[in-house]
Symmetry: C2
Subunit: 373 residues, 2 copies
């Protein structure tokens, strides 16, 4: 497959070849041995089994530490540039599983500063969006006793000294090479990566000793954490351990669900009617006519509807395999498949939206250092 | 005079030609008309009369505003990289005069973050030095009701959102051109100027309207405030008004007193004995022998001892002129001059050190937003 795709924290273009990307970034595949090892702690999450979380940095080492009684904390985050869609919550669902299995404390960083710097948004905008996004995060059921939400502009006093320490170790050369910055990049954007590094080191800084950190997130964030990992040893912080997932696909067939295409994006607050409309327009692997599809079958590999089942909405492996089989044999048509997915998404969203309402009662108690929204 | 000198906030090298520097930076001389205008508000400070504060940006405009009842606040600061010496307090003494004459509120920023980023110091070091420096600042008698001390890492929550707004307006290109950064500069140093800009805009941000700001400081800080002034209009902040002074000379004859030469630097905590020793070794405009000097006279223009009288320790213009006269005629020798200066400095330091002790009782009540040291 071609190598002409680009993945940075701010831009995903071209058709991503995830194997090539892994080699490019220098991360390690999650192989059978590691998978077997993970299975000892709890039932393997479908996102691992299906290769959605597919590559890592030092995960085996983290488990070695864990086995010795050295507990890690979880850290992931969200850049609040828009309303929450399914692509955002996918890795959060995985984080929830890790929290449950390993009884891990968790930091969730909302980078309102980043989105102000990189997008045409005010700080008021990004703060309001952060609140909306936080409701979705909380709705997923993270343990309120073990989970704290960081809002960068609110918690900057704790983050800033750590960010400074990281910043002192990172030259513009490095930032340029890692993120593709140039002379026209604003100096806030150049500095920002240090703020994203900070939560990974915050518990170590507070404790005055190394507390291991696991960051499950999209692989597009690797440039940030390469920088953070390079800086860590010189600061006597532990290198954060990474577990990376693929991007959640867009309904239009693209590699990454993006708010830039509203109709190919399912938001957590969408109505059942909207979901039906959006899924109805989804890109599928079907043929141009029913007759042709009955004979030739469809292609689930390119089908957004199938991917949604595979990534999030069909947890039963047997049912996933059946779906592939039936599709390829022409036994199931796109309309039927879309209808089933619509129902699954709407069932999920109905429950999620109820929990999202409840989250409004809890979200204040989960802020880091007790800030008020 | 040669143009081969360099003045940035972090480096002063070569023989500074202050006229050339003014042209290079594009600031305006303080001319007779402006001086006459200032005289209407109070007795002209010797540092203005003697051209130590010698150039400005928009000072006339600030006075226009003031005359219309639009009060300004003062802002100056200190990078806590070492103990306070006479070169540091010189512009603070001037600030105190401005505060008194214009009854101005004042922000004093201590950039512990900057000195961490630019020097081989820890954040603990720069914080401890900031406290020491703050005592000297407070000892000068600033009105505790009108004066607040900012410590960047303590007050970052107020500074950061403003810094982000500035940062979004400043490209790496600009930072490179203004400060001479290159690819090897760390990304914290690149970002830092936005933190130094923030206090200039902080009262405007808090008030939700434009509050004029006057910054009397060393001309080496102009690069920072050029950036701040360029960013201001787009953020609906007022451009800060600048009053710039020349660098306080070193005892060794250099253009800037610097802690890198301990023996040519008089610290505010020096003992009378130490002062005597340091002044005794000062570079003068004297001749090699007493006999020669009696005949040829000395050269006050290059003499550090004379400069100390001129910059800080002889407020009486007549006495300054007498000193020049007598020196040139060989009527006064260097030893005598050094002895007189030593006495003046020690009288000043005795009083200052007593006030510095008293400052320990007040300094906590003068912190911005009430932080504890």
């Amino acid at each position: 497959m071609a190598d002409d795709f680009k993945v940075t924290p701010w831009e995903v273009t071209g058709d991503i070849d995830y194997e090539v990307l892994m080699q490019r970034f220098g991360t390690t595949p999650i192989d059978d041995a590691l998978m077997k090892r993970i299975a000892k702690y709890g039932e393997i999450h479908p996102m691992l089994k299906r290769g959605i979380f597919y590559t890592h940095r030092d995960f085996g080492k983290l488990l070695d530490d864990y086995d010795k009684g050295n507990k890690f904390f979880l850290y992931t985050g969200r850049g609040p540039s828009g309303h929450t869609h399914l692509g955002h919550i996918m890795p959060w669902i995985f984080n929830k599983w890790v929290q449950d299995v390993f009884e891990a404390d968790m930091l969730f960083q909302m980078t309102d500063d980043e989105k102000f710097l990189f997008k045409d948004l005010t700080l008021k905008d990004t703060r309001a969006l952060a609140y909306e996004n936080a409701l979705d995060f909380v709705a997923l059921g993270f343990d309120p006793e073990k989970t704290k939400i960081i809002l960068d502009t609110e918690n900057i006093k704790e983050l800033y000294p750590i960010a400074l320490k990281v910043a002192k170790k990172v030259t513009f050369s490095t930032a340029k090479a890692v993120f593709g910055f140039d002379n026209s990049t604003n100096i806030g954007s150049i500095f920002f990566t240090t703020i994203q590094a900070a939560p990974a080191f915050l518990p170590s800084e507070r404790a005055g000793k190394q507390i291991p950190c696991l960051i499950p997130c999209g692989i597009d964030q690797d440039p940030h954490f390469r920088v953070a990992r390079d800086a860590a040893p010189g600061l006597n912080y532990p290198k954060p351990t990474m577990l990376y997932c693929k991007m959640f696909p867009g309904l239009g067939g693209g590699d990454k669900m993006s708010s830039s295409d509203e109709m190919a994006t399912i938001y957590t607050t969408d109505s059942p009617k909207n979901v039906k409309k959006k899924v109805g327009r989804a890109f599928t692997g079907g043929c141009v006519s029913v007759e042709e599809q009955r004979v030739k079958g469809g292609n689930p590999e390119v089908c957004a509807v199938f991917k949604y089942n595979f990534y999030l909405f069909e947890k039963d492996d047997k049912k996933v395999n059946d779906l592939v089989d039936k599709c390829k044999k022409g036994e199931i048509l796109c309309g039927e498949c879309k209808q089933m997915l619509t129902e699954k998404i709407n069932v999920f969203l109905e429950e999620h939206q109820a929990k999202r309402e409840e989250a409004k009662e809890v979200v204040d108690s989960m802020t880091f250092d007790g800030f008020k929204w």
